[in-house]
Symmetry: C2
Subunit: 177 residues, 2 copies
């Protein structure tokens, strides 16, 4: 049996079943664009927000759903990346370069993250997210990022592991970190 | 409204709602143990398997759920890590060290990954997973891992970004990669 069934149609997330496997799928099946923003001063730009599912503050790369509302349902991934970066962090990017597209948790969801390097950054606003979000922006020197993330965890926050993937990619481009 | 509701009770995964937020939660709410296995020859041990939610072959770190069946429902995380590593890869580890515990996709699920470094590895069987799994094991030299992963993606496979986080952590310990 390999039929795809919607076990429960949510408003934002459906619970699916296929081949005896249950998993979550967003209703509009959009990719998540995940930014890897690096400033001219060799800093990474991160965001902090409360996440309902884990009931905790989480440090993450700036990210958002492609076409997440009716006004921009048909936007391209790079448009979504530019929009989310500016909404969340206040930075505009002169150079957005796709890195790769990866599943975030392939046993539990069909969610796919499209990682995008953002450089030539210019601060144009304060960021903080749209009206539904409450985001704190952190600009962290790359050579101190591991220690800074350790301190955030010591303070009781959670850290999204995709940040460490980003640090690996940045280090690979920029020589030894 | 901050009440927690089970919108749909699945057999393996529940669709939850809290504060107008829908997300997936495993029925037993177990952590996922995610191994970062490094051999004495400076190789990382990876697994390849077909993943139903993304309908694709995925290259991943060896991983599994703590207490994923009745016979070991109350196992400790390090027991689960040892069990999953050997089931999937055939390696026994003389040294398991927790790295950190992170949310895998904090906007969509309460899933938490406990990353565990595995060293002092000894091959004791062929791996391949339990009777429900069909896993291929890859032992990849660390200094060639990025190129190898690029080639896997070029061949149409997906790559779990947690592998790059692992490469960052290994590089941080081992000096410049």
């Amino acid at each position: 049996m390999d039929d795809l069934l919607v076990r429960y149609p949510g408003r934002y997330v459906n619970l699916m079943e296929r081949a005896d496997w249950e998993y979550a799928s967003r209703v509009h099946r959009q990719d998540v664009v995940v930014l890897v923003p690096v400033t001219a001063n060799r800093e990474i730009v991160l965001v902090e927000q409360y996440r309902v599912p884990v009931q905790s503050v989480v440090i993450e790369l700036p990210a958002g759903l492609v076409g997440d509302c009716e006004t921009h349902r048909n936007e391209a991934p790079l448009e979504a990346a530019a929009r989310e970066l500016q909404e969340e962090t206040g930075y505009a990017s002169g150079r957005l370069q796709p890195i790769m597209r990866c599943p975030t948790t392939a046993g539990l969801s069909d969610e796919m993250a499209l990682f995008i390097r953002a450089s030539d950054l210019m601060q144009v606003s304060n960021g903080g997210g749209d009206e539904s979000e409450d985001i704190t922006v952190h600009t962290v020197a790359l050579d101190a990022a591991d220690a800074w993330l350790d301190a955030q965890r010591d303070a009781g926050k959670l850290v999204d592991p995709k940040i460490y993937a980003a640090l690996h990619w940045i280090g690979r481009e920029g020589g030894c970190e």
